[in-house]
């Protein structure tokens, strides 16, 4: 058998004219030329593989970087931030010596191709990011967006995604405590499968992805390396799905949650014995990413023998081994005298672990195969010095017309009966309907620390059993608002998540984001992106909640049609004692209902405009971040001091949606009175931001009113928890039974 000679560094230097498939690997001509310039010769095949995956949009953020810098430049001063942007996940101080790490990522494209595995490996990836920081994962959340609920393809994608998230997360023993499910035709060919995770550790246990200390060993552990997902990172992020190029659709990786569970336990055991100097998970770009990032973040170089990588498929070429995205693998840097103990722990958990290299005192990343040197690079040039694009952006010419198409001018219900019908239609619409058919496929209870889970405003996990310290997380995003005004739409996403955390009684501390947009090569999309990032960075600055990390997903478009710009924001909060948390459900009849905040006529992008008129136009609700901050402070104080027994934030669907949810969850109705100065329609359905509805025990009424009055928060008494109907005095009555049928029947009817 004859073989072409191994493409070593030496061979590459001697054969400068060999053509390499850089274009097929997703590199642009100027990017390839830059690689040649960096190396001073043509790259070897292995080097090309590494540069191509690491310089892909997915790994290098080349289109978004120039904008994302604002998250650092405008970062508010926060004592809570322990590790910021740039590591596997940000870390926040939550007090009592505890640190919490959290992050949201996208797994959009793979989940459209293969819903179950795409979503499952999305959970796996984010959880490994959390472990890599040194934390035990304690919960996951899943913000999901699909095409129209009644579209046949949604019935293919959604059940697969939900089963994949459940199948993987449930097997890991991680409670799923939050997230969202949104339907909109704009996501038909581009569902958004975002996955978030939270981990908890002690301050001293924080670990970083860096390889330091010459002579330290590099250990690859976890699953064997196979041929899955090769080039996925590169090709998935650099090409849209286009019917003309089916061959570009790569294999989606396959997840093994059992292997990941073992990986969690053996990694945490190794951390506990302080065996690990640096650690990195293998996600997109696999070993290319792990080796180059570990080496470039540390003080030395690294030498790796690729022959030592345990393989599932012995025919893999070195390039494929470097690019493989086989799941459930991690890379640890361990001092030589601790290697034996590290391997012992892996063996205890039946996890394969292999020393594949060591840290050197040089500054090069060198990789060997069959005795030949096939990679010799400065790791920084691979991991950090990728191309940076100043993509042109321009406000689209249709933006003015969209904003001029005012939703406030749409025909409104003319009679109480018509208003009643629209309310009933709204609470039964797929976006407003109960998602319990979906969330009941996720384990909420495992680990025994779940204080709140969906459909609560935020998920809440107890961190310390003795003190009751807890953390809360909410994720929100509204692509319709962002389409109308990306700057304020992004701020509204933050405001809602921030409000949701405060509504449960927790103090918002920090932000992670998942920015889902269309093609950056379209100036209109790039404008949406730039505006959303600017809006989010400004709002984070004003609210004092730094962005700790996140993810950008571009090319979410089919042909020329992009999804709505969809920044999804996760806010993490802390609560000193979870016993003080406030749930959504009405607790006791006779408690007084108060509306906090101002209600204006704001219907642009509203659920009402979508459900009743299939309309998207006008402006989203006004943003007042100082008001959000005040509202949050009031909600947190009221929770802490026992002044409120239930609370619900107002967002899409307005007040009536919130009241119906609280009533159905509590099994108790409400009598509402339309306040002076408002018409019933605006009162019930406007989506003005900065509002919440709370239930106050009569004994606390004076104290609560005094607090709001003293702090200057508008507060309106709107009714009382009572009976088994939702009664809008002088307008209409809906029984809890008919509301429950409407609210809970929709999703199973469409998808079960």
């Amino acid at each position: 058998m004859s073989r072409t000679p191994l493409d070593t560094v030496e061979h590459a230097a001697a054969t400068p004219d060999v053509e390499l498939p850089w274009a097929e690997l997703g590199l642009k001509k100027d990017e390839y030329e830059r690689v040649v310039e960096i190396l001073g010769r043509r790259p070897t095949g292995a080097e090309l593989a590494m540069y191509s995956v690491m310089w892909s949009e997915h790994c290098s953020y080349k289109s978004s970087k120039v904008h994302l810098r604002q998250f650092g430049e405008k970062a508010p001063q926060s004592d809570a931030l322990l590790v910021g942007i740039g590591e596997n996940a940000g870390v926040v101080d939550v007090g009592q010596g505890y640190a919490v790490t959290f992050k949201v990522e996208s797994h959009n494209h793979p989940s459209y191709v293969e819903p179950y595995q795409g979503a499952a490996t999305g959970v796996g990836g984010i959880v490994r990011d959390i472990i890599a920081m040194g934390a035990r994962p304690v919960a996951v959340v899943d913000p999901l967006r699909f095409g129209a609920a009644d579209h046949p393809d949604t019935k293919r994608v959604l059940p697969g995604v939900v089963a994949g998230i459940g199948g993987y997360g449930n097997c890991l023993g991680l409670p799923n405590i939050g997230g969202e499910v949104v339907f909109d035709a704009c996501y038909q060919g581009n569902p958004l499968v975002n996955a978030g995770a939270i981990g908890v550790m002690r301050h001293e246990d924080i670990h970083l992805a860096k390889a330091s200390g010459a002579g330290n060993k590099v250990i690859l552990y976890g699953a064997r390396t196979g041929g899955d997902g090769i080039g996925g990172a590169s090709i998935l992020a650099s090409e849209t799905f286009d019917d003309a190029k089916p061959s570009k659709r790569p294999a989606v990786q396959v997840g093994d949650p059992f292997q990941e569970k073992l990986l969690i336990e053996c990694t945490l055991e190794a951390f506990k014995e302080k065996l690990v100097v640096g650690i990195q998970d293998l996600g997109a770009a696999g070993l290319s990413c792990a080796t180059s990032e570990l080496a470039s973040n540390g003080s030395g170089g690294m030498r790796v023998t690729l022959d030592d990588v345990p393989l599932r498929d012995s025919t893999l070429s070195p390039e494929e081994i470097l690019m493989s995205e086989s799941q459930e693998r991690m890379c640890a840097v361990v001092e030589p005298d601790k290697v034996d103990r590290f391997l012992e722990i892996c063996d205890k958990w039946d996890v394969i672990a292999t020393v594949i290299g060591e840290v050197t005192d040089g500054d090069r990343l060198e990789i060997f195969w069959h005795g030949g040197k096939i990679v010799d690079v400065d790791p920084r040039t691979v991991a950090h010095d990728g191309p940076v694009y100043e993509r042109p952006y321009a406000r689209p010419d249709w933006q003015d017309a969209l904003q001029a198409d005012d939703a406030n001018k749409l025909p409104r219900p003319e009679t109480s009966e018509e208003l009643r019908e629209q309310v009933l239609k709204l609470v039964a619409s797929p976006n407003q309907a109960s998602k319990s058919w979906i969330t009941s496929q996720y384990d909420h209870f495992v680990q025994g620390n779940t204080v709140l889970a969906q459909p609560e405003d935020s998920g809440m996990i107890r961190v310390d059993e003795s003190t009751g310290l807890g953390v809360a997380i909410a994720t929100d995003g509204n692509g319709r608002y962002a389409k109308l005004d990306p700057y304020h739409g992004a701020q509204l996403a933050l405001a809602e998540a921030y409000r949701n955390v405060a509504t449960t009684g927790a103090k918002p501390l920090a932000v992670s984001d998942c920015l889902n947009f269309g093609s950056p090569e379209d100036p209109a999309v790039m404008w949406q992106f730039a505006e959303a990032v600017r809006g989010l960075a400004d709002a984070c600055q004003q609210l004092g909640t730094p962005v700790t990390g996140g993810n950008v997903s571009l090319y979410n478009q089919t042909g020329e049609v992009a999804i709505h710009p969809t920044p999804v924001v996760a806010v993490l909060g802390v609560i000193d004692d979870v016993a003080r948390r406030t749930p959504v459900a009405f607790q006791e009849e006779g408690q007084l209902l108060y509306l906090l905040g101002d209600t204006r006529e704001e219907f642009g992008g509203s659920a009402w405009s979508q459900v009743v008129h299939d309309h998207l136009g006008g402006l989203p609700p006004q943003v007042d971040l100082e008001r959000e901050r005040l509202l949050a402070e009031i909600l947190i104080s009221a929770s802490r001091d026992g002044m409120i027994d239930s609370a619900h934030d107002l967002s899409d669907g307005g007040l009536i949606q919130a009241v119906v949810e609280s009533a159905l969850l509590g099994g108790k109705g409400a009598r509402l009175i339309v306040p002076d100065g408002l018409d019933a329609f605006t009162f019930l359905l406007s989506e003005s931001a900065g509002r919440a509805v709370v239930a106050v025990p009569r004994s606390e009424e004076v104290r609560f009113n005094d607090m709001c009055g003293a702090r200057g928060l508008p507060v309106t008494r709107i009714g009382v928890v009572d009976g088994d109907t939702v009664d809008i005095q002088g307008e209409f009555t809906l029984t809890l039974e008919e509301l429950r049928t409407a609210h809970e029947g929709t999703i199973p009817a469409l998808l079960a």
Partner: protein, 226 residues
């Protein structure tokens, strides 16, 4: 003195720490047992907890049943050691033939997680004396393979002997025959059920009920009074 109750960790066990907490909250001493270790370390009782042992890729509980720790456990359970199997633990106990019947995939083919209403049918087993017969309780349920099946003869016999320990009420979440949620062996020392009592032991956590705590106080009383 208190009782020492072992909790076995298999690879893929998920509720081992939660179960240890429930044992502690009941006032007993939890003891971690390891699947590769045949030694039960002189514990007074054992809980096989929930999870996906060995990934459950073959059939839930099918591989765990052959692990070293199970060799000793099967022998001692037959000699009277109290054993509680929760969810995956119940599946392992049926695979080990310590309890009759077996579990199939849920009839609706989805994982299901909910607050489940149950009726305690037998309050005389080692694990249920702090309940009263006929008592209705709420215990979280979460499983993929929870459909209890057995042949008609076995089912009739279980019912005749009072060995159906728990039954689903109002809603059968997985298609289990005769709404069976849990069963006991003849001696009453080995009990298995699909719902998770260890997730219902603290007022603030999970569903906010403590209906599961009597499992752990029942066994503690039995062991301490023995």
């Amino acid at each position: 003195m208190t009782a020492r109750i072992g909790v076995v960790t298999f690879p893929g066990s998920l509720d081992d720490r939660d179960t240890q907490r429930a044992i502690r909250l009941a006032g007993a001493e939890p003891v971690a047992l390891w699947h590769k270790d045949k030694d039960l370390h002189q514990v007074d009782a054992v809980v096989l907890c929930g999870g996906f042992s060995y990934g459950d890729y073959l059939r839930a509980g099918a591989i765990a049943r052959f692990s070293p720790v199970m060799e000793t456990l099967i022998e001692q359970a037959k000699a009277g050691l109290p054993v509680l199997g929760i969810c995956n633990g119940f599946q392992i106990l049926t695979e080990a033939h310590l309890l009759p019947g077996t579990m199939l995939r849920n009839d609706h083919l989805h994982f299901i997680c909910r607050d489940q209403k149950l009726r305690v049918e037998n309050a005389e087993t080692s694990w249920t004396t702090d309940y009263t017969a006929g008592q209705e309780i709420h215990i979280p349920l979460k499983n993929n393979d929870g459909q209890y099946v057995a042949d008609e003869y076995t089912l009739d016999q279980l019912e005749a002997e009072g060995r159906v320990a728990f039954r689903y009420l109002d809603f059968n979440p997985n298609g289990s025959q005769r709404d069976i949620a849990g069963v006991t062996n003849e001696a009453g020392n080995v009990v298995g059920l699909m719902p998770h009592p260890e997730h219902a032991v603290e007022p603030l956590i999970g569903t906010g009920r403590t209906d599961g705590l009597p499992f752990f106080t029942s066994i503690l009383k039995k062991l301490v009074n023995a």
